[in-house]
Amino acid sequence: MTSSVTSDRDYLEIFLDDDITISTGGSVDTDAEFPQTGQAGLNYGVRSVTHDLGLVPIVRAFYDPDKNGTWYNTRKLLGTGYQSVDEPWLTTVNTTTTTKLIINSDSVETDIPVYYRIYRFGDESVRTDERIDKIFLHEPAVAYLPAASDSNTPQHTVQSFPHGQSSSVLNTLEFSDDNKTWYGAGAFLNGGFDTASGPPGGPYVRTFYMTAIGYTDANNFYIWYEHNHPVPKVIFARYALDLKT
């Protein structure tokens, strides 16, 4: 079912968006340098976008870390160990005037595709030159994952959903362990310490967690579900897909 857009709408207006590439290995940006960020890295690439909106905007940022047409808006999960994520990493730093897109990689990389979309709140009458998202699907999903053999060997599964579009699409995803409480894609839902991951009384090096991310290519939208609990888990998801152009 769709809704009409009328002139008293309060939808988010796309203020700026662009396809860019970012190469790493340049000079270090102070906003990206440890300990400004919680994740240290070796090579940085930065692109600053001036928006001058006067408030910190809503920003959706996507990148193609493998340069193969598969787009992420979270860290890419590897599933090979405890909370293992792949590099390069994308981060945004947002102020009232600027959005800074930062790529962090282990080795120097060139021309990593990045797409960003900066919004402002719609509070004006409709103008013919305004742009808004075109959402074409909003669905729930669910996955069952067997128990992990130990907390350093997570279980994961990937579901694919053909999106039926001939071009790249954007996604928004949340996940839940109870279908009522929802977490942003890429968050590691903490399930408590694994007391077998350290000496008696601690400190412990691992926690139990579950997470989910969404990513897209030219044909499908994918959900990657992952957990490291010692019992099977059901992970719920809900997602929306919108056109990039």
Binding site: S7, G38, D133, D178, L189, A240
Partner: protein, 244 residues
Amino acid sequence: MTDYSNILTSTDLDAYRSDGVIYNDSLTFSGTLGGSDSQVKTTTGFTIPNIDFYQLLFDNSQKHSGKWRDMNLESRTLILETTSSSELTALIQSTISDNVLTVKAEVFNAYSTSVTLQTTTLNFRFVGYDTTILAPTGTKATGSIGIMNCDWVGGFTIPAGTVFVSLGYYKAYVSTSTVVVPTLPITPPSTCVASPFASQIQVPVEAVEAGSMYNIPPDNFYFIDSFYNTGVRAISSTSFTGGS
């Protein structure tokens, strides 16, 4: 001649929308943190009408004040401990329950001795938005799932609201009443099979969402959430119906 004054702006576009309200809250870490200990703080909670999707940004008063980072892309920050001048990791996690969103931050001290934390405030900025595509307004599919107790150690209760997931069709259903599954009355076989357990307990369920996609055929395997036991098996013998 067309009378434009009587034409409403109307399109078939579905977009993200927001009421434009920006919520703010903060958490401050300070004082002494014991060895191998953690300090957990949770915001009071943002009450949000009609939450669907959201953006949650944070800044760190000591590291990047006024420079807001997206929690989907970065779910941790650093807090300096001044005892030996090292950076401790603080994990940040958001939770939405009903219409209330809270943010929890937890800083870990991996050392065996106590440390003093540099006073650090984590500020959070939240904007909720939703899709103008409305939630399904049809009806939920209903049916029943049979539970077999193949474990002879005793009976058990499955409360209403328990989630069952079809492993053949990856659809989820919720039980609508509480049932008691009795102790198995006979010696169990080596595997948990449908026959001869004709007296399996039937649990009425409904789909978690409206929609015809939940009208699935019979399925021989369901996962019972929060009730993991290899000696318990759940099946549906008839199709689910009524979903639209």
